[in-house]
Amino acid sequence: MSDLDRADEGADTTTEPAGPDRAQYWVAGVLAALGVVVIVDALRLGGFTASNDPIGPKPVPIILGSLLIVVAVLYALDVARGGRGEGGETDGPFDWRTIGLLCAIFIANALVIEWLGWVISGSLLFWGAAVVLGSRRYFLALAAAVVLGLATFYGFAIGLGVGLPAGILQGIL
């Protein structure tokens, strides 16, 4: 076991990944695309100006869009020269499945929160996320979820006046 650990540590320090991290080109691409979207949206704006506002709402997004495209190009050049970000860990597996499941649970919560109410949808969110993230004590997680849901609803919605929906439990809680 300790041998394995040592091998791991050695690997961490020596394998400075060679060559540019090509996935970063996606970032440059997204930045450029965002720049185009911002400029297109700004061009759609009526270019009217008034005496109390000589430039109107147009120039700022156009400047931002142009800068985005410039930064996208520079970014791509930097990546080609082997640049990388601070603390951006590129090695090791990236668990897409967990991310996908978490997003699904999160979106489900957004869809049902008004209908089922925060106590039920929030509890499901917590329970689902805990299970996806590796909890195997299903009942304990469910109990924790329900306690959290009820506690936050009573504490925040009723106690502090934070707006959380009661949903179908309206009148019961």
């Binding site: 506002d53 970014y75 601070e86 993230l133 924790a144 936050t152 934070v162």
Partner: protein, 502 residues
């Protein structure tokens, strides 16, 4: 003396049983939340913001002050015990603090961090009392072009000075600025980037941006790759300091404070530089040089004091100019805005009582931390044992609750997950978060100042540059922009000379 009178009135407002209880709750949850691994101070405040929605502004700010110092304190505890800096300003603390904890001196490391934070926080808050009104009287004479210049400097500096890669800083900043333009243009009423979605017309709330990129982004990041890592938690004994530890700590505390506050008070000064400077200074001055790198108490005492003093320092530009210069101040500014309060020079006139109550609560929160929390550290440490699935499920749970509570509309939850995925991508590619959040807040403010300047000059572009203040500010900006070039040339010259000499 006006200030002191107002401050005493502020204390009067805080010192009621109910408000003290609120301060205590703030300190406690601030510590608890930021103790969780992976949670920085800013993230703790962003997550806890919704709790205050039902409160009066005064009470909300008393609670913020508590969360603010509680959050700072919890962050350093995690850093020392887990060897994981929750934020970049804790990086230096970790170097010696974790080694001390390993050598069985964790109690002393935590004690010097806590007492040092208290000393630094108190001195820095006193400095805040005196410096802020001076800044305000300076700021009150500034026109729109000067404000524009200062804001442009703050934006430019957060993107380029902090962090290792300028391009990545600017990428993050521009993304934030674009998010900031979404919504109805305040002057002409035209919709920008809303694509007819009515919920976007008011723009995206800063709280949702902060919770999305900090909290959801972090939770997703850990989910994507954190499962294989296992944190080692070192048990702490009693949290106390011997006579020798006191002797070795008080100097670093004071020097750290002296370094931290001015950096914090500068736009985009940040906490990274002063904590690092403090570390280097203490290593040079120490009589125990050989202990550095193996767990020297000075290396925890100095940087922790610098960190706290700089955090208090950031409140100067935040309150006096409305400029947020670190993530925590950005979230606090967002909190001000949810109450319809605009920080800036007029704040001290319009909301004088509120500001001084906030400052008084900073003192009280800081003291409460020392008195009530230090003996409780061994209990807090148990929080570090919450299993990861529950911890991150809890973050998602509270983040959704907070985001929903902002406007009570499910639409915000979709925005939240999109921003969370953006935060995840930014972590993966090593893009800094701070420029984004500062861009969202300062972008619209800078645009308003620019358009106001042009309005005053009747559309002449020369109106964008005002009096001497803006010339000085643009001068500083030019220096920052040119600096890497100068360094590059200097390095090349030095190399050439070496070659010639050889």
């Amino acid at each position: 003396m006006d200030n002191l009178d107002s401050l005493i009135e502020g204390f009067g407002a805080v010192l009621t049983p109910q408000n003290l209880l609120i301060a205590l709750i703030g300190v406690t949850i601030g510590t608890a939340v930021s103790m969780m691994p992976g949670m920085g101070t800013a993230m703790a405040i962003a997550l806890l913001l919704p709790i205050t929605y039902g409160m009066e502004p005064t009470q909300a700010f008393i609670m913020f002050a508590g969360i603010f110092y509680g959050g700072m304190y919890g962050g350093s505890t995690t850093a020392i015990l887990l060897n994981t800096p929750g934020q970049s300003s804790s990086v230096v603390t970790v170097m010696e603090g974790f080694k001390m904890a390993r050598n069985g001196r964790g109690g002393q490391a935590l004690a010097t961090a806590a007492i040092g934070s208290f000393v630094a926080g108190t001195i820095a808050t006193v400095a805040l009392v005196f410096v802020t009104p001076v800044t305000v009287s300076f700021a009150i004479g500034l026109g729109a072009p000067d404000y524009l210049a200062i804001m442009v400097l703050a934006l430019f500096a957060t993107a380029s000075v902090l962090g290792s890669s300028r391009i990545r800083g600017f990428a993050s900043l521009l993304f934030g600025l674009v998010v900031g333009t979404i919504g109805i243009d305040a002057v002409t009423g035209q919709q920008r980037l809303t694509y007819g979605v009515p919920q976007l017309a008011d723009g995206i709330d800063v709280v949702i941006v902060a919770v999305g990129v900090f909290a959801i982004g972090e939770a997703l990041w850990i989910a994507a790759r954190g499962r294989r890592t296992k944190d080692e938690i070192i048990p702490v004994g009693r949290v106390w300091m011997g006579r020798k530890d006191w002797r070795r700590s008080w100097g670093p505390w004071l020097r750290g404070t002296a370094l931290g506050f001015p950096f914090g008070a500068m736009p985009a000064g940040g906490a990274e530089v002063p904590t690092f400077l403090s570390y280097v200074t203490e290593r040079r001055l120490s009589k125990h040089k050989n202990e550095f790198g193996k767990g020297a108490i000075e290396g925890v005492a100095g940087p922790e004091a610098a960190n706290n003093a700089s955090a208090a320092g950031t409140l100067v530009p935040m309150l006096a100019l409305g400029l947020p210069c670190n993530a925590t101040a950005a979230v606090m500014l967002a909190a001000f805005q949810t109450y319809g309060i605009q920080p800036g020079p007029l704040l001290f006139e319009n909301e004088s009582a509120l500001v001084w109550t906030l400052i008084a609560s900073l003192f009280i929160g800081n003291t409460m931390l020392l008195v009530l929390n230090m003996p409780m550290i061994p209990i807090w440490v148990k929080l570090l044992r919450v299993p990861k699935p529950y911890l991150f499920a809890g973050i998602l749970f509270f983040a959704s609750m907070g985001a929903y509570a902002v406007n009570a509309q499910p639409f915000d939850l979709f925005v939240l997950i999109v921003l969370g995925l953006a935060g995840l991508a930014m972590r993966r590619f090593g893009l800094p978060m701070l420029p984004l959040i500062v861009g969202v807040i300062l972008g619209p403010m800078a645009e308003r100042q620019a358009r106001m300047s042009l309005q005053l000059s009747g559309g002449e572009l020369s109106g964008l540059i005002g009096g001497p203040v803006s010339w000085v500010v643009y001068g500083i900006l030019a220096l920052i922009a040119v600096w890497p070039l100068v360094r590059f040339v200097a390095r090349r010259r030095a190399r050439d000379r070496e070659i010639v000499a050889a």
